[in-house]
Assembly symmetry: C2
Homo-oligomer: 245 residues x 2
């Protein structure tokens, strides 16, 4: 596998920045870094492993998609005990929609790890979701189902899955916050600014203040998403007040 | 949950025949038998649990489908390292097709456990596959992913999954056996007879003999399936001779 090491970043446990970055992303130590190298290798590099099999993320995408689907299924099954089979199927489709997975991949800035012969701007939007799925596949191969589940909970379910919003009961947290402030005659400000930093993808940050006090912040790849993220956090921060008024 | 116990068979660890039968089917001891009671309860009974949630197999079907899909995905990923994403997707669809799942459910005679207000003959063919999926969901809830995986390997992958046949490279093992016998000028007999025994569903058995010696047996819910099963076994029993002649 040395020929791969030359192309992707060095990955030995001691000196590899790829290993270090992946470990930070996963919140656990990878056992076999090669799975992750594969998860971020685009087929345009035309790499093969020692057995002559294609070395790129496409097959891992298939595996990760199945693992993600089963983790989300078990989450929904337990979370919504009254949900019918049709309801559960529909909710899962929303969570694992191509659009949503692309968003997740972008928010984790996974593209920074991708090795490709095609310029990153030209690979299309789906690469973000595809490598996100491939990463889940790599985790499964490297550490098994429970790590896979833990990762999906940490990176998908806890930060992004909101049953009420998916059900369409809440269409916009920003709307809720504004409505509540107006009703309560509170002054609010939703301040948005570009905050890309060193990242490849443009990012925006949002600060929400109520009566001069900062309540929540959000940061994402679009203004709208960052606003919703901050508003959702503000909603949960204020939930006791909101639901009792 | 006592009201359920009255309808489904008694299920305490010591005296329950349902518990005993399920344990035999699973090859391991169930922890919480209620999951399995649910997996075999049809909605026509209109049962609820103590929290007022529907007590039937429909939600478990959703969960089991996802678990089965992920186990098959990981099996195929490892088994066929040269298979592209498209190939893997197609093979999985064949394995988890409605028709195939119904066949699996029938072969395990799962219908014998079903509690329903509708006569078993009137529930339609899909019930066999549906309760098979629900059973996988129940195993996941009761014992976790690894038991689920073990069950799918024992009951689906090892006895039924044959990559060459799924790929269409071998369309009929019976054809292969006959062709080989004719080429080798060997006498063969394929003997089929009804063999239902005490079961609810009609069963057939098949014996294959070559030059007067019994080589393999098969048993299934249709003549054709029993013949293919016996022929496949005969093929593997004779493989060394077949491939070297």
């Amino acid at each position: 596998m040395n020929f791969i090491r030359k192309i992707v970043k060095p990955s030995s446990k001691n000196d590899g920045s790829f290993y270090h970055d992946i470990k930070q992303l996963l919140n656990f130590a990878p056992k076999n870094i090669e799975h992750y190298e594969k998860a971020f290798t685009h087929r345009s590099l035309k790499l093969s492993d020692k057995d002559g099999n294609a070395f790129n993320y496409e097959r891992l995408e298939f595996l990760g998609d199945a693992m993600l689907g089963s983790v989300i299924a078990s989450y929904l099954y337990k979370k919504v005990p009254k949900g019918t089979e049709g309801y559960l199927t529909q909710m899962r489709s929303k969570i694992v929609s191509r659009e949503h997975l692309n968003e997740l991949g972008k928010d984790l800035n996974l593209i920074r790890f991708v090795k490709s012969n095609i310029a990153k701007e030209n690979v299309g939007d789906n690469i973000h979701g595809n490598i996100f799925e491939a990463l889940i596949g790599a985790i499964y191969l490297d550490k098994g189902y429970n790590y896979c589940k833990k990762f999906v909970y940490e990176k998908v379910i806890i930060p992004y899955v909101d049953i009420e919003k998916l059900e369409g009961k809440i269409t916009s947290y920003k709307g809720l916050i504004i409505e509540w402030c107006q009703k309560q005659k509170k002054k609010y400000s939703i301040e948005t600014y570009e905050d890309t930093g060193n990242e490849l993808v443009k990012h925006f940050s949002v600060k929400i203040s109520i009566d001069g006090e900062q309540i929540a912040k959000g940061r994402s790849t679009s203004k709208k998403k960052a606003e919703e993220q901050a508003s959702k956090r503000a909603y949960f921060a204020l939930q006791n007040q909101i639901t009792h008024t």
